[in-house]
Symmetry: C2
Subunit: 353 residues, 2 copies
DNA sequence: CTGAAAGCGCTTACAG
DNA sequence: CTGAAAGCGCTTACAG
């Protein structure tokens, strides 16, 4: 019934307007040098026919190659998280490479601010058509953003964001809300005068707004829901890893029923396994391989997860939609806050998370 | 660096093999009438060049139109669930219509087995290239599956599945596991001798294996985790809706701390709101509009949800991958089991669930 | 068994 | 300001 040859393409428009296809193309893409009269005539016909360009033909005919650049932290054994956004980026790449898009990936070291500067400069030199990056270093990221804008290169943030920037879009977490939700789960397990420990595993907490937001989220949940127990914050620097066991042990007593780790929980979980979990409910972040083990053996009860794979995937697709398909992009895109447990993690492993 | 004109297409192969493009095409797609010698030569060159056909050009040149058929229950005010898989199907449709795929949707009435028969016959008459359907009526679905196989039409199940069929694939829930997870969440809230009510809202429960699986999942969780309380099953037929309030009220007493509704929870939630929730933890299924209200006002604590939108989306894409891209399809695809609460539902509303 | 040619719906020099 | 023509990487009759 619906024939592929229903004719609504540029050829048909040209025929109706009694002009050549080239002229239609000129008005469609504002290449100028068209009289106002023909311009209007063509535009009207397009509207009547509800013309939608055939993107396959478009990409096939065009010799324009789109170059995307990606700048994210490199992942490591210690910090496997960034493997997942990269996976999403690669998934998207596979889908759109047929459309003449190439993606060049740049990685920086989270412990080395210079690596961020260096890589970002490299990117600018390569003059990409669009950029996706993770603005972990605040100052440097703002500067980089400014340079992108100056070079008229659209840029998209992933995983975390910066206020008042001209980023085309953001794909990532709402960290505060994630902490808030963790509070709800925790509260199910708490009695009237229970105690909860919030553990931030970082030095210089100011550099990790994610962690602070998560803590605040949980504290707010308790405040809004009349929890009468005690909430203790425990800040431990990664340097103190050797003493970790003792530090935690020293904090837990008989009323402690909850332990909320505002980052990946596996290192803490390892120590808890030695100490003994007791009636502790333990929550942490991200479905990474090291966490998985402790989810499986029951040490970790909940992992909060914000679709790291999807973040990367959607960010690349947004850039594609913006540049190639000329579509409107939504500026703020928060990922669903997922609750992962021993009972459902299987279904999150190989899908697009 | 990577030039679009790196030449690895069919033209290049033809040049290297000293044959015409048509011949290359013949061996690539086994259209026969090629001598074994040239065949081998061409295949080797393809391997050397790691030839990947340009699907854009392929679809553009071909006048083959793929017709997909979809058969799912129609959604209604009473049963809004099926709106969501349909949404996913439409999302997928938008993405692939450029590739010359048309999707025709057929709907049946869950209360009318004849409508299923009628629509499924219509589908066969239209001779589609592939079918996605929800096998809600067991017997009829098996018969339909057989006919599809006989006509060599690949078919994919969504939402629920049937054993021992030759379906190309399945996208849907693992209902048992969803109930198991609900058990975990419930158990957080329970004390040693608490009581839990499992409410099945259906007549002739045998027709709703989903509900029975969910109940079994929760019961098993408790059994595996040494819950010492009491679990009561309450089967209520939709005809009894007027007495719903009294029926529930009669079952709740001071030790009841959990209410697990094995389907959409809004009707029960409405009555609970009148009765007063007390310390009841209430769980139900699916993030539908009527449920949303009771999630927001705190009557419903958890909704289990298995990505209905994604089910439809992925099923269509699988058919596309199979028929158009000739890719391998995984047979069993369970959706992530999502836990939705007042604190995170916002992020599930407009995304691909 | 094999090849020349037209065409899918666009873009892009080039010529006027 | 406008049009004719070649070409993107394929498929598909058609002719031999």
């Amino acid at each position: 019934m619906i024939e592929k040859s229903e004719k609504t393409g540029i050829t048909e428009i040209a025929r109706l307007a009694k002009v050549s296809k080239a002229t239609v193309d000129r008005v469609l893409y504002n290449r100028g040098r068209v009289s106002e009269d023909t311009r209007e005539k063509i535009l009207n016909i397009c509207k009547d026919l509800n013309y939608q360009p055939n993107i396959l033909a478009q990409r096939l005919a065009s010799d324009k190659v789109y170059k995307f650049a990606v700048l994210i932290p490199k992942y490591s054994r210690d910090n496997p998280y960034w493997k997942y956004p990269l996976k999403g980026i690669e998934n998207a790449e596979e889908e759109i490479e047929n459309y003449g898009v190439t993606i060049k990936k740049y990685f920086y070291d989270l412990k080395d601010i210079h690596s961020f500067r260096k890589e970002s400069l490299q990117i600018l030199t390569s003059k990409p058509d669009g950029i996706v990056f993770a603005p972990e270093f605040k100052r440097e990221s703002k500067e980089f953003s400014k340079k992108c804008a100056h070079n008229k290169i659209p840029y998209i943030y992933i995983d975390s964001t910066l206020p008042k920037q001209h980023n085309l879009s953001y794909f990532g977490q709402n960290t505060y809300q994630g902490g808030y939700l963790a509070g709800k789960l925790m509260s199910l397990h708490l009695k009237r005068y229970s105690e909860v420990i919030i553990l931030n595993f970082a030095n210089e907490l100011e550099n990790y707004p994610h962690f602070m937001d998560r803590e605040k989220g949980m504290r707010d949940y308790f405040a809004h829901n009349n929890f009468h127990g005690k909430i203790t914050t425990l800040n431990i620097s990664p340097d103190q890893e050797i003493e970790l066991k003792e530090l935690i042990k020293g904090k837990i007593h008989h009323r402690t029923r909850g332990l909320f780790i505002t980052s990946s929980a596996h290192k803490v979980a390892r120590q808890i396994q030695k100490i003994g979990k007791g009636r502790l409910l333990i929550q942490g972040y991200d479905l990474t391989t090291p966490n998985l083990k402790y989810l499986e053996n029951g040490i970790i009860d909940f992992l909060i997860c914000q679709k790291p794979v999807t973040q990367g995937y959607l960010a690349i697709n947004a850039l594609f939609d913006h540049l190639v398909q000329k579509k409107e992009i939504q500026k703020e895109n928060f990922m669903p806050i997922e609750i992962i447990t021993k009972e459902n993690y299987q279904y999150y492993l190989d899908s697009n998370n």
